[in-house]
Symmetry: C3
Subunit: 318 residues, 3 copies
């Protein structure tokens, strides 16, 4: 494990991964995992125990982590889908005490979605067991989502260098776009077009990071102008639970929605991504377009990415 | 599998099962499952993965599906007990997107209880994985309950033809009686006595079905008059969560309650059924009567029925 | 199994355990379990099925039971983290019906936390499967917590006879201190110093029991006076969910808080215990003191204790 993470066994934020790791370790291991998945699984994690501790709702992330563990022969030995209400957190226990106790039972890995920013990072500082961040509260990070998004783009295009990608929607609160930006900053010639209502623009922390790493970016408010020029559109959901809302008329909404008109304008080899859940920011008429990968390759990549991470962290000397 | 379901691997509604399948496939396979259960289980579904996705509360159905999977050597790899609150449904994701994503992880079967009618049917149309309907929202269907009820009656009586059965309570909202009616419509000489307050009578869709299939039925309001004449009483709970209520005086309530007086009037070889949970519509003094099967044979039949369905769907060429 | 429990396979309340059982059976078996835990587990409960049925929130207890089952090779085949809301309890089903149904599926053991006092005891009277009480509603009992606490003290001191222990906090509602008192009543020369606000004093039922069993006790309101004299401080949390509240000024709160000043006054070989979750009744500055066992030895003892109980109950002739 140490050869991948340099003695840091936790997955907390996108910045921790190097370009070398992404291309030389993560990518080929993911391909191995894809084969194992297609063959119905293996037994390499037999006897390994995962604790799945979610303070916020999740379907995809929690299920794909648990599925990934199963496909590798390991087990989810304890899962809570709402730790905030049904664990001792409700009685006022601190995250530090909770993680110290869970660590003490010696599971092999703890997957955590915490409901405040930097929860996973803090957990990793008191844990004696590897922590996998399954998503901070927005804004924050969702590093395994960034890895699966990165892998999805790479597999379709064969490279990340020179990518031009539009990120659309609630960029202020969207942890997935934030985490993906941090990964893209490791590559050359990348241009990111941020498209959002003015009150939902990408945070200055991410933009400063991109500038430091030589990533060009634009900010605008109409996807229709940008769509013809990009290799990927990364659409996101308005984080209504963060108080955000797109209270606009239909015309204005058109600026941010992926529909048949947008798809028509896109390049033939571009792709359309979404971290899901999707509400109405991508019209269902788009789903069957071969460029749409949000219900297909992104999902597969999510499983394979989590299998690869579990394999790296839990298999001795792998 | 296909030899049972003719290429339709989902369990969605009672109508899909033929008399031949019930008697020649389901019944003997259930007996095999009973033996496996009594022997403590087998390993025939080793490596098979079940997803248990409940949008509404359940104890019995969810537990018996998960237990059935265990007794056959398979695993529940992901379970949610309240998908409406703790899954992405809360963020507005459609059932279609959710099922497409879950299918993509390639579990072997998805057990779903949806909180709107026809949810399971709709899920089966977008799923690439077999769907087992663990109960629609009322009114609607609960086909595995109907199968276990049918099997319970058959095992006690040795036949369904010629059965006279009283169905009692909230027939308007009760999905279990609805589903059982559809199954009984496959048999000859069946008479159903519907007994309910006037505002809770059986829906006309079911009654039309029964008429088309030659099943006689009566509608009345006092169980005490009917009890001496039937081979089975199928008591149900008032679906208070559907807005139904039996706001009556004690005398009137007596019309619909199974108590010692009713039991005394019943035939010696009749049976008393209830899908549970029971509130007070069957007095606990009835529980120890040998004709009461709701806490015994119906429970066993529920486990065995779900084992048989999982075996049929998941074992290659079984 | 019977050799341990004399034909009573349930774990319901502390009184059921004899001194002989504690010292000659439970203690050495716990040591065996500690070795198994450190070796990463065994397979002795292969194929055994546990149902984990919680009507109230829990992290530690539920997780340590499920972990204990895994370390012995058994499985949690069904778990609910909030049975009151998500099981048929919500529809009005009685505990009796619920337990009869669960028993009928023949799991090997049912772990239950019920939200009314004596729930587990009642469950054991209708169950055909061993019941493990994972905590009654306060006041009530939490026998597996008492066993793990007892074991923690024993392992540090080498004996219980002659122990002087301070129990601090909400003694009226605290089920853990109640259960521990019942166990300590089996030993000689024990003195318990109860320290609580006047409105939260220990119940007269427990005090009468202690008197009958020759256990001396004092009642006072300032931990600082008692701390220098005891071999153990057992700190507890105010059960805010029981309507209790420590609405006092900082000076008065000092009477009941374990902080650096208290620790300084304690004997060198004394220990500081807490059942967790902890809010602020033990200052975090105390955590690193070698006498603090609440985040270390008590946690380990909890796992080992539950492993020992599962082993006793589920392994034939062990």
């Amino acid at each position: 494990m140490s050869k991948y993470f340099d003695g840091w066994p936790h997955v907390i934020e996108s910045q921790q991964f190097s370009r070398e790791w992404l291309e030389r370790e993560f990518l080929p291991l993911g391909d191995e995992m894809q084969v194992i998945f297609e063959q119905g699984g293996c037994d390499i994690l037999h006897g390994k125990k995962m604790v799945s501790f979610f303070y916020k709702p999740s379907t995809r992330t929690r299920m794909s982590f648990q599925m990934a563990m199963e496909y590798l022969g390991g087990r989810t030995v304890f899962a809570t889908e709402n730790a905030r209400e049904f664990s001792s957190a409700r009685k006022g226990e601190t995250l530090s005490d909770t993680i110290k106790v869970i660590s003490r039972y010696r599971p092999d890995v703890i997957v955590i979605r915490y409901d405040f920013e930097l929860g996973a990072k803090f957990a990793s500082e008191v844990s004696t067991v590897p922590i996998l961040n399954a998503g901070d509260r927005e804004p924050g990070q969702h590093p395994t989502q960034a890895l699966l998004d990165w892998r999805t783009i790479y597999k379709r295009r064969g490279a990340i260098d020179g990518l031009r990608i539009a990120m659309v929607g609630d960029l202020k609160n969207g942890r997935t776009v934030r985490s993906l930006c941090y990964l893209l900053g490791k590559f050359k010639g990348v241009i990111i077009d941020f498209i959002s209502p003015p009150e939902m623009i990408m945070g200055s922390d991410v933009k400063a990071y991109l500038s430091r790493h030589g990533v060009g970016f634009t900010e605008s408010t109409d996807l229709r102008e940008i769509a013809p020029h990009v290799g990927a559109i990364y659409q996101t959901r308005t984080q209504a639970e963060c108080g955000a809302a797109l209270d606009r008329n239909d015309h204005e909404l058109g600026y941010f929605t992926v529909d048949a008109e947008i798809v028509m304008a896109m390049k033939k080899d571009a792709i359309i991504m979404h971290p899901l859940p999707r509400v109405d920011e991508i019209a269902t008429e788009v789903d069957s377009d071969p460029r749409a990968v949000y219900l297909t390759e992104q999902i597969d990549s999510g499983l394979v990415t989590r299998m690869a991470l579990l394999d790296m962290i839990l298999v001795p000397d792998s």
